[in-house]
């Protein structure tokens, strides 16, 4: 059941991605409605898949990378649908849905037995969930940043094309970027704290300074500086957009590190 739903979801997101990318280049409002409908259908299937999986698995088992990525993708679409519902910015889907699809494909590519971490403690669930939620915030900030940079470039070079017409106002994107980080940062902070506590219980040390932990801390520090810079010395607009794009690259690297390490421990 869970697998079937998951596969259907992936198919729907794939179609939605194509449809949303076509929307980016075509002057058709109908296309956005179709894309949205497919995305919403995919989201429902995805929810079913997640529920089915939760019912099927034992509570004690540690969350797998597969589950974490799938959850990440689900949250991403949830945020998109919420923003879309409030602000009617269809073009956001052209950026977020592909990202969600990539995350789902990565989840599918990994055998769902690969655990995120060695089973250590029940709090591991909390650590993974919070970190993933923080990552969703950064992902949205990243998307807003990319959109900001594109719109900034289009305005500066005075290319008033279809994309220009569809992208929202710069200050909206900057605001979205700021809000996403303001929400994402505390969640990631909590995620790291719960992770450290789990580690302390399991291994007796909060931090073991292995590469992915170090990288996670560097990323966290980076976002801390970005947030601080925005609130104090005016690192907003274009600079904030650049920084969040770079920051998200750090997040991805951390995730890859975690996956590689987990993969290594399995094989």
């Amino acid at each position: 059941m869970a697998v079937v739903c998951f596969m259907v979801t992936m198919g729907l997101y794939f179609i939605a991605t194509i449809s949303f990318l076509a929307y980016l280049l075509r002057r058709s409002e109908a296309l956005s409605k179709v894309s949205l409908a497919i995305t919403a259908a995919g989201f429902v299937m995805h929810t079913l898949a997640l529920v089915a999986r939760m019912v099927g698995s034992s509570a004690a088992a540690p969350p797998s990378v597969h589950e974490a990525l799938s959850f990440f993708s689900w949250m991403l679409i949830l945020v998109f649908l919420a923003v879309e519902f409030r602000h009617r910015i269809h073009v956001l889907g052209s950026f977020i849905v592909p990202l969600a699809l990539v995350s789902l494909i990565s989840a599918a590519a990994l055998p769902d037995t690969v655990p995120t971490l060695q089973p250590m403690f029940r709090t591991l669930w909390l650590h993974v969930t919070l970190s993933m939620l923080g990552t969703v915030g950064f992902a949205v900030a990243f998307v807003a940043g990319v959109m900001y940079l594109i719109q900034d470039r289009l305005l500066k070079s005075k290319r008033f094309n279809v994309l220009y017409a569809k992208l929202p106002a710069l200050d909206f994107l900057d605001h979205l970027n700021q809000q996403s980080i303001i929400l994402g940062f505390p969640l990631l902070t909590l995620g790291i704290i719960t992770g450290a506590i789990s580690a302390e219980f399991a291994k007796g040390a909060y931090v073991s300074w292995n590469p992915e932990q170090t990288w996670a801390l560097v990323t966290w520090l980076f976002y801390f500086v970005v947030l601080l810079g925005r609130l104090t010395v005016g690192w907003r607009a274009k600079r904030a957009a650049y920084l969040t794009v770079i920051g998200f690259a750090g997040v991805i690297l951390t995730l890859i590190g975690v996956v590689l390490k987990s993969y290594g421990t399995v094989s």
Binding site: Q151, L155, K156, K158, F160, Y164, L167, P168, A169, L170, D171, F172, D174, V233, G234, W235, R236, A237, K238, R239
Partner: protein, 462 residues
């Protein structure tokens, strides 16, 4: 009676020619009376805008009318000869003239398709022709129709939805930088027409605060009062820039008033909040190097024009729908124009008379069945001669007035006195609603209808 148009527009003539021909409001009366003083020119309307100069006229003879109006145009400016003018002119008559007017009114022929100014200009031109009494039945009807067609096009197509002017294009751009103009501040430097227009648009969009500076302090105070804003001393505007989200510059200065450094300072003071600068002045007043300042977005008049061009392309799609409407409406007017022609009116009049005669005769003869054939013929003859005498005067008057200035009014009057429907033009007469006399009409109209074809083709463009 033929409606013709002779003129030139941005499509056929460069500005050097157009500006020479343009007739200012103050000289409109003189020009109109000169136009209608030409023999054979019955009605006249002069549409003179920065993009076109057109003379609409009702004339007796198309070719002669073309000549007269060309003469009139060449006389408008001393340094222009007819030979210089001819290559830039276009001539239309009849349906084509009506179509042209409708397209102009609906802004389908404008430089910026869909702009709304032209409709106002046409109304003004019509007003002044009315006040100088140079229009008559035909022109009044045609121009009023043109105005209503233009309104229909505006409400039923999306032709006017996108930025219609350079000043509005500025607002559109502002909305791509600021999603909500409500809390934004506009600084107006200088008081060029275009900048004032743009400021007005921004205020209409709910911009929060307007600050104005001009070289003459009193001017700024006056404008501030007009816009409900605050005046800023001219020496201070550079310091004031940091508080402005939108800076609109339009002065007569021949050098850069705002340098890239000024903008960089303002952006830094704003903690990198984006800033939107519009330079509507020619020569430019903001150093183009501002383009390299992050978070400052500078647009000059050409950029705005380019933006408008882009919208124009989109409008052209909507314009197709509008063209269709114009064709429809021209059809409606064509029917009306036809009804104003003397020949079909006379035909219809005879038809109507015969119709009445026949029905009354049938009734009477039915009761006079006992009369010998000879007497019955006498009764018929009596009826015919009464009817013919009754309408004779009307027909003679119509024929003699056909070429007078009020000819169309006589035709209209005759149609109404004798309840002749305007709808059935001569060629669809057979299919018209008057069935009882349809067979009769053939005989009576035979000698007259031969004239009709010779008139109809002349209405088409020669």
């Amino acid at each position: 009676m033929h409606l013709i148009v002779v003129g030139l527009s941005h499509k056929t003539a460069p500005v050097e020619i157009r500006e020479k021909l343009a007739v200012p409001e103050s000289r409109m009366g003189e020009a109109l009376s000169r136009l209608t003083s030409y023999s054979g020119v019955k009605e006249g309307l002069l549409l003179s805008t920065c993009n076109r100069v057109e003379v609409y006229s009702v004339v007796d003879d198309i070719d002669q009318g073309y000549g007269r109006i060309q003469e009139f145009l060449a006389d408008t400016h001393l340094s222009l000869s007819s030979e210089q003018l001819t290559p830039h002119l276009y001539w239309h008559a009849g349906d084509r003239a009506i179509t042209h007017l409708f397209r102009v009114a609906a802004s389908l022929d404008s430089m910026i398709v869909g702009e709304s100014q032209i409709l106002g200009q046409l109304k003004d031109a019509f007003e002044s022709a009315l006040s100088h009494k140079t229009t008559g039945l035909i022109m009044n009807k045609v121009v009023k129709k043109a105005i209503s067609v233009a309104k229909r096009v505006r409400t039923e197509t999306k032709i006017a939805e996108m930025a219609v002017s350079v000043s509005y294009a500025a607002v559109e751009l502002a909305k791509k930088i600021f999603s909500d103009l409500g809390h934004r501040t506009v600084l107006l430097v200088g008081a060029g027409e275009m900048a004032k227009l743009a400021a007005r648009h921004l205020i209409a969009q709910g911009v929060g605060q307007v600050r104005i500076t001009t070289r003459t302090p009193q001017h700024a105070v006056d404008l501030a009062e007009k816009f409900g804003g605050t005046a800023v001393p001219f020496e201070q505007y550079k310091d004031d820039m940091a508080s402005a989200d939108i800076v609109l510059v339009s002065t007569g200065a021949s050098h850069y008033l705002i340098s890239a450094d000024d903008v960089q300072r303002a952006v830094t003071a704003r903690m990198n909040r984006p800033m939107f600068l519009i330079d509507i002045s020619v020569p430019r007043n903001i150093d183009p190097a501002v383009r390299h300042v992050d978070n400052a977005f500078l647009f000059d008049i050409d950029d705005l024009k380019q933006r408008v061009e882009k919208n124009r392309a989109e409008r052209l799609q909507e314009a197709d729908k509008a063209e269709q409407m114009v064709v429809e409406e021209v059809g409606v007017l064509r029917e009306w124009m036809k009804s104003l022609e003397v020949t079909p009116t006379i035909v219809a009049l005879k038809q109507r008379a015969d119709e009445i005669k026949r029905s009354e005769l049938d009734k009477a003869l039915g009761r006079l069945a006992h009369l010998p054939a000879q007497d019955r013929e006498l009764v018929e003859g009596l009826a015919s001669s009464i009817v013919n005498k009754m309408i004779h005067g009307t027909m003679v008057t119509l024929k003699s007035e056909v070429n007078s200035s009020s000819g169309a009014a006589f035709v209209e009057a005759a149609r109404r006195f004798f309840s002749l429907e305007a709808a059935p033009p001569p060629d669809t007469r057979g299919a018209s609603a008057v069935e009882p006399s349809s067979c009769l009409s053939h005989e009576t109209s035979e000698p007259l209808i031969e004239q009709a074809p010779s008139r109809t083709p002349s209405r088409k463009q020669p």
